[in-house]
Amino acid sequence: MIKLSTGDRALLIGIYAFLIVLGFAAFYPFWNAAIVSFNEGTDTMKGGVTFWPREFTLDNYQIVFEDSRLVNAFVISILRTAAGTLLGILLTAIFAYGMTKRELIGRKYYMIFCIVTMYFSGGLIPSFLLIRELGLFNTFWVMVIPGLISVWDMIIFRTFFMGLPGGLEESAKVDGSSNWGILFRIVLPLSGPVIATLSLFTAVYHWNEWFTPSIYISNADLLPIQTKLQQILNSNIMSEQMQQMDSAAQGRINKMRTITSKSLSMATMMVATLPILCVYPFVQKYFVKGVLVGSLKE
């Protein structure tokens, strides 16, 4: 180890201090929301709940999990994420594999056709009217279909596929495999990392996306948890907030008396974040790789 000069040591101490503050700032707001969700609502109102729950309770969560509307929204979110990710990744991968074929007639024009869509779009209103014309209003599929193909992901898949050893495909062709057979039996099984990365990003997108349903879906039973949460957060008053819940939950809230609009919001928020928190630390190595794949392309 090289001995550090005084200036260097001061710099390093400064950096450590700054990073610790930054780490705290990144984590604390979330932590605060978490402890408030585990604290009695009326107790939180007295103030001073800073680092740890003071009156620990699961009442807030009990309300959330027993409310049929919130549970329903949670299920919608899961279905949307599953459908959007599975179908989207599958179709995008098939698309990308076709685009790797040198003999594909029109490949150059197809590629230009794709890239144009990355720079230009019709904007909010024409898309809104198109969705309307297509009859997707107030359907579950409005959250899935318009996002199925991502040109960006297609290009990342394509780059990855083109980097696979060509000999495998050749020998499979000699053995009489069709192009579709090669895709599903050889190419996709070899593409684990890129599939994992892109699936993760797609799933996070679908889980977090709340705007599409907020403009296309008016049927409250079809709203995913994020959009539902947005409505709950928007209505600051308890009575308004309770209108978002079912009557059984309203009765329970009145009986419990310790629930406040804040404690309930925070508990709903935690539930809406939980799946992401469970996934992200474990797949970190994948998404770091994924960001790099994306930026290499740029």
Partner: protein
Amino acid sequence: MAQTESRNFGHATEKPPGIVRFFRQWDIQLMVWPGLLFLLVFSYIPMYGVLMAFQDYSLFKGFFGSPWVGFKHFEMFFGAPEFWNVIRNTIVISLLKLLIGFPAPILLALMLNEIRGRVFKRSIQTISYLPHFLSWVIVSGIVASILSTENGSLNMLLQSLNLIQEPINFLSMPEYFWSILVVTDVWKEIGFSSIVYLAAIAGVDPHLHEAAAVDGASRLRQMFSITLPAIMPVIVVFLILAIGSLLNAGFENILLLGSNPVLRDVSDVLDTYVYRIGIQNSRYSYATAAGLFKAVISVGLLVAANYLARRSGNSLW
């Protein structure tokens, strides 16, 4: 190249016409056509639909039945009382985000690079990625809770330090709104954006640092004289992209935090304006004109940024 061409000509008589070859490779064409049709419907039709900015579009007459009115909606938009306000907010918010939000992850990457302890470095990284994965709905909920007048963390902190006597209602005071936007934006993305720069730094030749250290350069000096110039190409590419999306200003963030009508004067940007006028008030043609205005400026900015970058030797295309 010349060789392949002459070979193609030589075989021209035996080669079946394009249409036949097209159908002969139906299996791979079938792989790409669903994707192409998808883009045709969901990207190209709306692009064509932008022309409704030049119409008096009505839902009953439809796109093909609505009358053409030329630049009427553009003139109305440019003459609208809120026009300059919207433009000012869009530009100011975007520039603030660019000025503070763009260099922040680069600085973070430079600092993380100085850390030798692996555990500490990885922990800070993991923690700093967390906000990126929270949805804007959650982030806005957290922000509202922190800034709340009823035991919001920030008000409690300021009160305990005796900096303020009464809690401040930050989210309904126009003078704080832009700062809140920039801080939340940096908070959410700083860690995740630093990944690319860290990767670029990892590719810098360590011999450069050794040589500089032998010459007596301090760590700080090395940071700015070796590491930073070495990753400059990456920085420039991301800067061009950031300038191309400059006018986006952060739609979701503003929509969620700035919905309070008190904030309208400082929170109205092009995207939220299009949303409010178009979706909520159903003035489709007018809103499309405003959106098209934004798109044209954005493309202009992207091209201009790329032109400047090319003169300095880096370019997107």
